[in-house]
Symmetry: C2
Subunit: 212 residues, 2 copies
DNA sequence: TAGATTGTTAATCGATTAACAATC
DNA sequence: TAGATTGTTAATCGATTAACAATC
């Protein structure tokens, strides 16, 4: 019987961190315990044990986990083996940065094409991809079975870009624009909100000034 | 008596979103209620009321909040008026994107200088700033009273960049590299972890395939 | 006044942490 | 065997949501 999907969203967010660390020590450490992993990443060891248990269950008392086995389990769970085709809208600085960043392929993400509404940008290249006009969006999405869209346009154009993606059958949107997007039920938006992170950092700094 | 700082980190992360939305409707809406705001951003209305209550308390039954007053309260709380000088290490694509992005100044962040360890990049410009060599880091930090550092180097160089920042007196680090950083007590690290977000999105997509 | 809206107090929910039994 | 480590069950903690009283 297949175990129910009981992995919480918080756990899900930590899994790539485990995977990344394990890959960096594979070879050096043939086995690794939850305690060691927790220490390396600054997490609670029980938390790590629980997280790993929900995707692997191959840990053995006294020994810990076989590093390679755990990597394989994590990659399987995260779908790193399968390709997830994606499109990106907005080929400004941030868009170009994401296009050039090679690290996503480790997690199965493949940005198949980039789009921009500005004629000045269409035709230029970034990360070995040529930027296309918005009129090509539907065809590309259909041909590649794209269900993931990345939005890196300015705030003002984000909702419009989002609507177009949804029309083309996209079911998950990675939003880098500082706006809240309205989407139909069944479409997931993940906001990469830089202003939120900045607020946490700034507060830490000002808090120190007046702190005890 | 000054109210104790009881704002939770989750609330703190939402405050910039309120501020951003309010700015977009100022003029059009002289007053706004928590209910309307919640609706616009897709939050629970009680949550919004609680969030706003912790930084403003100027809401009035039947009327709601004066938009301008609320904006002022949020800006005051978030320290948008005061300048927070920061340095950035790693002038690759992502680093350049952040340097060129003008939106941070709305929240008081001012990237005073960018650094890179590669001679090939030193001397080039990005976002009107010239990239400097790492040897200049200490001087710049001291002269500008920098306590916030942004790391946009590849994973392998992140800890080293982090250590240098801490040595120069930085107390808050915004880490875009996919690694966990070790820092002394009192230094806050905020990880902008793209792999985590990607995991959530991917799981949503694969979950649909097998889902009920 | 009546009703919309605030702000607060209590209940629920979910995630983290602690305690402990199982096992190699 | 003894002890390290896993995995599970219970307790704690924090955040969200619901219920309700206060008020303009």
């Amino acid at each position: 019987m297949v175990r129910a999907n009981t992995v919480s969203i918080q756990t899900l967010r930590r899994l790539p961190l485990y995977l990344h660390y394990l890959k960096s020590v594979r070879g050096a450490l043939p086995r690794i315990s939850a305690t060691v992993l927790a220490d390396a990443l600054g997490f609670n060891d029980v938390q790590v044990r629980k997280d790993l248990g929900s995707v692997s269950g191959n840990g053995r008392p006294k020994k810990g986990y076989e590093t390679e086995e755990l990597i394989a389990d994590l990659e399987l769970y995260l779908g790193c083996d399968s390709r997830t085709p994606a499109v990106l809208i907005g080929a400004g600085n941030l868009g170009r940065a994401l296009l050039s960043y090679g690290g996503f392929s480790d997690y199965g993400l493949e940005i198949v094409a980039a789009f921009d509404s500005s004629d000045a940008v269409v035709g230029t290249t970034a990360g070995k991809k040529t930027v296309m006009g918005m009129d090509k969006l539907r065809t590309i999405c259909e041909e590649n079975g794209v269900r993931l869209g990345i939005i890196t346009v300015p705030a003002a154009g984000a909702q419009s870009a989002c609507d177009k993606l949804v029309e083309c059958g996209v079911k998950a949107i990675w939003n880098f624009a500082p706006t809240t997007l309205k989407v139909p039920h069944g479409v997931l938006v993940e906001n990469e909100n830089l202003a939120s992170s900045l607020a946490v950092l700034s507060k830490h700094l000002t808090g120190e000034d007046t702190g005890a």
